[in-house]
Amino acid sequence: MSSTASTQTGQKAQSLTLVEAIQDGLYTEMAQDDSVVVLGEDVGKNGGVFRATDQLYEEFGEDRVIDTPLAEAGIVGASIGLAQTGMKPVPEMQFMGFMYPAFDQIVSHAARLRSRSQGQYSVPMVIRAPYGGGIRAPEHHSESKEAFFVHEPGLKVVSPSTPYDAKGLLAASIHDPDPVIFLEPKLIYRAFREDVPTKPYEVSLSEAAVRRDGSDISVYTWGAMTRPALIAAENLSQSHGIDTEVIDLRTLSPLDTETITDSFKKTGRAAIVHEAPKTGGLGAEIATTIQEEALVHQEAPIKRIAGFDAPMPLHSLEDYYLPQAVRIQDGIRETVEF
């Protein structure tokens, strides 16, 4: 387990937002490895609709930062081909809700070229996509469909919740020999700053982070929901003396089941927070893992605090749809007071 404390090592660092850390991460990787290329819609001259690829076109030129035609199947399919030539493509999907045209390329090919070729070929590629709600975006711009990809063997699925992790997880993803779906919580793209080392570093793709130590209940979450979970934990500590442990999974596939179960063995209670719809969401997988590994420690039903089993509403209702601190607090209390 590592935590953000590892930034305090006295190395040269910049205070960056999460999206700036991603830009910095791409810059750092591209500077040290010529085979890394960025491609997608509006990633070049425009620097990405969220500025995640800002300045990369100016720095690395149009052969490495490539504005493509508007075609997600084309972008991902072409990236799979590029990867066969020794290049390391980092395609961007402009929003998670617009990944679906590429779904066949991702699940039928990127995820299984290694197994189809019996280890002869592989697809070292990182598909980046902003995901999640809360920014008053139009319809289809707020999707959290991580479970689709977690369900697909052969893919890794990653979602950072801090600027430090964003850069380190991105580096580990780019270095990884297998395809990674890198989901960026756009709600917190610019929410806060953190010291991010200028030098290259990795955050492991196999370790969850304990963001807050606690003894009464374990809250499992990731991405943008980490912040309201931490706020809820702090509020409850003050108002009710409840001591909440908050685990940020960071890598959603493969799951760090050891950290998940170790925490549960300590607390005996669990709540899972995700903004994706409840049914078939990753919460179900985590709850079952706990039951399989640590049933005897269980003291209360496992609580899922999630989005509705309904499409993401337009923005006038998104605050009701997403798990807010108030809902998380209520769920934690219900579980602790069971």
Binding site: D42, P69, A71, E139, F192, P228, K278, Y321
Partner: protein, 382 residues
């Protein structure tokens, strides 16, 4: 059918230059071109075309300023594209169907949607997506090009049921032509010979990506050849030319001549005068001087000049129209600002009946809303 533009004028954008194969009726000023034949439109219809285009321009300006005041979320402006939007919709018969994208506000209005409903989704309320009975407009399409095969399918359904007097008009952007759905939809349209008209609003940009980067084809209209259907290029800033081309394509969709296929791909050559959306800054990726040459061909000015020349419009009527549209837009805004959506709406219309599980989720939300107050939910998540 091809009208030529003023020879050699160097301020004319290449895409609409006289040597290109493009239908035009009005020149850049709004005077009728020498060999052009003006479509048979009554004065009343011409004034309707004019008034709706003016309304669209005003709507656009109000929407942009509202967005800046925080009263609307992200808005996709249509300045420069209103003429084509309105002309295509006015060419439709009442029973025809319209498939709009997120930019075709004026096209929706001109085919029967009320103005307030256009503002509602921009204010975060799904009410505006509920199309009134008898208005044949689909909710706007945001995932690019997904409407193309669906529009084909609806036209196919009508044909299979012997209702070929109902045509389907499907809008799409230049960027959309790169998606697989565009190819599949047009290919099906040709194979099954359906009464559909596909209007590609080639506004030269897909966010920051210029038309030349979208396809190595010289024109978008020529892609129609590959599907065995007609492709037509029209000056999309010339409302009369668009009206003519759209009317002819719709007529052919209903009653094809011997050996003719019903579908048409119209490339309406336009320019996105403004930003992609209110969240976009075009100065990052394009030169302002490019905008200027297109602004000289503003569709509002061209149709206005034409109507003055013909004696259909005078300054009294112009100001009467201006007053009327300003009032209409203001009233729509007032109505839209009163719309409130109950949180219960989250679970409604997912299925015909609300499943038990979803009802539980609604009850849980309502329990929390009673226990804490609504303000607790609107605290900023960040």
């Amino acid at each position: 059918m091809n009208m030529k533009n003023e020879a050699g004028s160097k301020d004319v954008p290449a895409a609409v230059r006289e040597d290109s194969d493009i239908v035009q009726i009005l020149d850049a000023e709004g005077d009728v071109l020498p060999q052009a034949s003006v479509p048979d439109i009554s004065d009343r219809q011409l004034l309707e075309l004019y008034e709706t285009i003016k309304l669209a321009r005003h709507f656009d300006q109000r929407a942009i300023s509202f967005q800046r005041q925080g009263r609307l979320a992200t808005y996709a402006p249509m300045t420069g594209q209103e003429g084509s939007q309105v002309a295509t919709s006015l060419a439709l018969a009442e029973q025809d169907w319209l498939f709009p994208t997120y930019r075709e506000h004026a096209a929706k209005y001109a085919h029967g949607m009320d103005l307030a409903s256009l503002f509602e989704p921009l204010r975060g309320h799904r009410e505006g997506y509920a199309i009134p009975e008898g208005v044949n407009v689909m909710p706007e399409y945001i995932p690019i090009a997904t409407q193309v095969p669906q529009a084909m399918g609806m036209a196919w359904g009508h044909k299979l049921q012997g209702k070929t007097d109902t045509a389907v008009l499907c809008h799409l952007g230049d960027g959309a032509t790169s998606e697989g759905d565009f190819h599949e939809g047009l290919n099906f349209a040709g194979v099954f010979d359906v009464p559909a008209v596909f209007v590609c609003n080639n506004n030269q940009w897909a966010i920051s990506v210029p038309r030349e980067r979208q396809t190595a084809s010289e024109t978008i209209a020529e892609k129609a050849q590959a599907y065995g259907i007609d492709g037509v290029r029209v000056d999309g800033l010339d409302p009369l030319a668009v009206y003519k081309v759209a009317s002819e394509a719709l007529e052919k969709a209903r009653n094809p001549g011997p050996g003719e296929l019903r579908p048409t791909l119209i490339e309406s050559v336009q320019y996105r005068f403004g930003a992609h959306t209110t969240a976009d800054d075009p100065s990052v990726y394009r030169d302002e001087s490019e905008e200027e040459v297109w602004r000289d061909r503003d569709p509002v000015d061209r149709i206005e000049t034409y109507l003055y020349n013909e004696g259909i419009l005078d300054s009294d009527l112009e100001s009467e129209i201006q007053d009327r549209i300003e009032q209409e837009v203001s009233e729509a805004i007032e109505t839209a600002e009163q719309t409130e959506t109950s949180p219960d709406n989250i679970v409604e219309h997912v299925y015909e009946d609300v499943p038990a599980r979803l009802e539980q989720q609604r009850d849980e939300l309502n329990r929390l809303r009673e226990k804490y107050d609504d303000g607790a939910f609107s605290e900023v998540l960040e």
